[in-house]
Amino acid sequence: ATLDEVKSRGQLRCGVSDGLAGFSSPDSKGQWQGIDVDFCRAVAAAVLGDPSKVTFAPLTAKERFTALQSGEVDLLSRNTTWTASRDNSMGLTFAGVTFYDGQGMMVRKDLGISSAKELDGASVCVAAGTTTELNLADYFRANDMAYNAVSFDESDQTAAGFDSGRCDVLTSDSSQLAALRLQLSDPDSVVILPERISKEPLGPVVRQGDEQWMKVVRWTLYALLDAEESGITSDNVDQMRDSPKTPDDARLLGKDGNFGEQMGLSNDWAYNIIKQVGNYGELFERNVGADSPLELERGPNALWSDGGLQYGMPVR
């Protein structure tokens, strides 16, 4: 099973994007950064107790499913949209949603456009092999508009194409748009149109048929969310473990029960995650939120208790 393989290997192999600011990109020292990357680290921390024991495999959109199917990676954490066909017919299983997103469109300000409905006849830069590409077709057809798709292999290239004037519109998940905008030569000359033309729940993917591993990944996500809900952060986690405020915290941090062992992990699995990677809020703020160049709002990614959609299942 995957969990045993990862343990015996001592390394988690994680498929990530080959360059998308805020989600996964190598910094100038070659360290991978981003929320997707940090999720991989969280899984490594849970399974191996050490978030650095991850081998990142940069994958293009086209390569990602093949790489996961073939076993080239153990986990795909690459802003991948959860759809029925992917979940049901490709031999894959989505373990949860790390980021609720929606597809948006970006245009140059000087076009004077305020709505996506005005885009009839436009050329659109889009990354090949994505749900984005499919949504785009649906949206323009639904609104009876014509368009011209220019499909690039990677999101970098869509930005470069847009920047050079090859297209009028750059479309992608709106979080990505925020990231790609930073790659433009003049980020202030563009606007992101208000419409969200699709639902884009992004989440980690594992191979179908390995319940145990899927649960490890899923509960890693819940641990991140639960920690934020209980106010446990990487700074106060030691303290919280020594003197848990609530029985919930005690169970999460392994002071009570053997919830880690039930999964095939050690009981301090969640402690390791929070201590070494942080909780969901920390991940978000650090990579895409206020502390990052992307400056995204929490929006639907706020906890349910704050009016958002993120909801961690209880450890009990």
Binding site: E5, R9, D18, G19, A21, S25, P26, S28, K29, G30, T55, F56, A57, P58, L59, T60, E63, T66, A67, Q69, S70, G71, E72, D156, A160, D163, L182, Q183, L184, S185, P293
Partner: protein, 371 residues
């Protein structure tokens, strides 16, 4: 019958020096450039073309260019901004190799270039030893040093490799691996055993028929489907094997053309001296055949070297991919031309060097055993 001025001429007419040809610049220009109306027009048009094409490039790349600085602000924008390259220099050479361990790369690169120099400079003796060092000792040293994990050296996984060192590694391994494999395939294709021949033909035609990027794609993301679960290969190793198999097919065809050019008499003479098949191949046929096809072999090397840039497609960070990654750095947007020109220059220097060396080598070997 016509009178003959001299019937016999016992005295030797002394050899005289030739009448001095009218030399100088003018005559050179006249014969080489302006030897007729058509030629003159051609010369002028060519000259114009050169000025129109080359001058702006020189202007951009050298005269108006910015060389020093540390950030985008140091670029004047009038010409090329090489600052982009210089700030990323160490990444371009070492990739993500850990800072503290880069001396290991330095040693390997130094050894590599020293051996190349030894092989290339004609005056230096004992080329055979150099070749032996290059083919046997250097790979082992490089492997131990770069990968580490032995003799107390920390292990540096291949995914941290990158930049020029990765490009050179892939090229060197590809070259060293594909040649012997190609030779075996070529011999197989000329074998008298029909099954052996058929298999070699199928192998060669298959690899020559498909694009390298599909091969790389298969080896990088699909390989685990073909091997038993749990078997693991390093990603770099897989790319290397793919490249080696792919190019060995091309190499085989080159070698085969050399084998075909060797007279059957050579093999017969060997047989008549009592040499068996393998000795005949090793001592007589292959040395001649390989020498004959040096240009073809080097061309294949060059093609292989150029195609190392394709590993970009499978997510290994060679020189080109490192530079491309740098292009997405939001502090350095808009320097694609500089990046690509520089990458082109790196590849060009190596490839051109190889092709020139092969020409020199060919001439030198020719001189060796012809009168």
């Amino acid at each position: 019958m016509a009178a003959i001025s001299r019937d016999t001429n016992e005295t030797l007419i002394a050899s005289r020096p030739p009448p001095t040809p009218q030399g100088g610049m003018v005559s050179w220009l006249r014969t080489r450039l302006f030897s007729g109306p058509v030629n003159s027009v051609v010369s002028l048009v060519t000259l114009l073309l050169i000025v129109r094409l080359i001058w702006p490039v020189i202007d951009w790349a050298l005269i108006e260019a910015d060389w020093t600085g540390s950030s985008r602000a140091d670029c004047s924008g009038e010409g090329a901004c090489w600052v982009f390259i210089s700030t990323r220099w160490s990444q371009i050479v070492y990739g993500f190799y850990p800072m503290a361990e880069r001396w290991r790369v330095d040693i390997v690169l130094a050894l590599f270039f020293m051996l190349i120099a030894w092989l290339v400079i004609p005056r230096l003796p004992a080329k055979k030893i150099a070749a032996l060092l290059g083919l046997v000792v250097l790979p082992i040293v490089a492997w131990v040093l770069l990968l580490g994990g032995l003799f107390g050296l920390p292990h540096v996984p291949t995914r941290a490799w990158g930049g020029l060192m990765l490009t050179l590694t892939i090229a060197a391994v590809g070259i060293v691996g594909s040649l012997p494999l190609g030779v075996v395939l070529a011999l197989g294709r000329r074998s008298e055993m029909p099954l052996v021949r058929a298999m070699c033909v199928i192998f060669i035609e298959f690899w020559r028929g498909v694009p390298l990027i599909t091969v790389l794609f298969m080896s990088s993301v699909m390989l685990p489907l073909f091997v038993p679960a749990n078997v693991e290969f390093d990603k770099l190793l897989r790319a290397l094997i793919g490249i080696m198999l792919f190019w060995s097919a091309y190499m085989a065809e080159v070698v085969r053309s050399g084998l075909q050019a060797i007279d059957k008499g050579q093999s017969e003479a060997g047989a008549a001296l009592g040499l068996g098949y393998w000795l005949r191949m090793r001592l007589i046929i292959l040395p001649q055949a390989l020498r004959l096809v040096i240009p073809g072999i080097v061309n294949t090397f060059i093609a292989l070297f150029k195609d190392t840039s394709l590993v970009l497609i499978i997510g290994l960070f060679d020189v080109l991919s490192i530079i491309q990654a740098g292009l997405t750095d939001s502090a350095w947007l808009g320097f694609a031309t500089e990046g690509y020109v520089f990458a082109a220059l790196v590849f060009w220097v190596f490839c051109f060097g190889m092709s020139r060396y092969s020409q020199i080598l060919e001439r030198r070997l020719d001189k060796g055993y012809q009168r």
